[in-house]
Chain length 257, copies 2
Amino acid sequence: MSAGPALDATPETIGAAAADQNSAAGSSSAQTRERLIEAAGQVFAERGFRQATIRQICNRAGANIAAVNYHFGGKRHLYAAVLRDAHRRSHDEFPIFLDTDPTDPPEERLRAFIRSFLLRMLAPGRPAWHGRLMIREMADPTPALDELVRDSITGHFADLGQVLHELMGPQASLESVRLHAMSIVAQCLFYRMARPVIERLVPGRYGSDEVEALAQHITAFSLAGIRASDDTKGDAGGASGASKMDIGSARHRSDQP
Amino acid sequence: MSAGPALDATPETIGAAAADQNSAAGSSSAQTRERLIEAAGQVFAERGFRQATIRQICNRAGANIAAVNYHFGGKRHLYAAVLRDAHRRSHDEFPIFLDTDPTDPPEERLRAFIRSFLLRMLAPGRPAWHGRLMIREMADPTPALDELVRDSITGHFADLGQVLHELMGPQASLESVRLHAMSIVAQCLFYRMARPVIERLVPGRYGSDEVEALAQHITAFSLAGIRASDDTKGDAGGASGASKMDIGSARHRSDQP
DNA sequence: TTGCGAACCATACAGTTGTTTGAAACTGTG
DNA sequence: CACAGTTTCAAACAACTGTATGGTTCGCAA
């Protein structure tokens, strides 16, 4: 039907097959694929999906203009592959509860969540693509956002809700936990999203060098807000006091059939 | 040199001249200008500057394709005009300290700031362009962002800093005030910026209907964070205890020469 | 009416976009 | 070497973009 290698298979399948065929250095096809994803990650992060051009990506990857269509079946599929790759890399390097385990007190896990989130957003180099791409997806969604929310965001949001639920006590309402979770996520996202404005407002500050200080501030600020939440008033969301709280409406990331 | 009416004059000048010529219903030129800005506001907010097309804007405005170049001198100038218009309208409707005056306690002014900010971001209809356009400018800046920061954001940020300074006491450091201001702004921006994600995570919630509840939560959450800030530790920013604190580095909005 | 400038219009233009195509180069295998 | 499959390549394609152009219509004063 169409040219190119196994366009109907998942990227994982392709990767495994390529590794089987040539486990040492990777086949020529896999090498080009890798270079394309690398270059596309840069260009998509810099200019966004629509503004990025195939020619620029292929130029930076040292590949022919037709390579994207041959290896990925089109710009859109390349973009989806980049998004998956960036997400995997950034979460490999900065797991959601970095340097903690579930037995640590919730304050410590919240601190780790915030720090890891900030690192994912602000760390320089390759994992930073994820943050920039996520911000772009929010401001100007593509069809890839559905997959992103389903496979990644929902689960992380639920994990944060779990920690908050422990901190706020069993009487905390679902509604209140959600609002507090969003206040925390908002602060972490802010330093990536508002970067162009921050740069102009306070030049040279609040970048990747200051992640620790920012994490410290956001944690302290938020813990105070959490502890002050007197949640004994009316609850519009119901389900108050549930031991395991599903904070979002979608399925948890590890519940896929 | 170029066609079109008074392209070298400011929009205000054009408006005044048009009003002089035809004070009742506006000249034909002013009517078309108005329709173009209206349509362009919609399209720019929906699709962003680069993705929006002149043809779509003119089509929606019932104008010819050449109208944009004739009346504004190009797509970029039209966009700048739309940004100015949207900013003016949204701040006319929702002033920064809505329903308060400087003698009110700082808690009340903070609440008003947050509520007004949220209304500007989430209110439906025409003033909502401003919020969407601002988010787009952050995610994908155009040359218009410089003007936006200089003429609007800097001043509002300083005003918020003033309120926070009153709340935190004279020993609060510039650095600490800045961080707290950003935590508050972040929460307000979040519900506009993350709308596509929120829609998928918790469908039908946290939109324009819930501004009052959101303002209530953000105010309470942030006041707790502010009051917990024990700011007697080291200060990296200097200028601690200044009576009038210029939180940003740029000029205040009302200090223009 | 005539004259004149402002406003509008259909059309054309040059540039860029993602994608397609058919052939060439390369790869490993018999 | 010969051959088949994979990968790369230059060129072309159709669609779409912002802008420019030259002529037409409109509003109004003399």
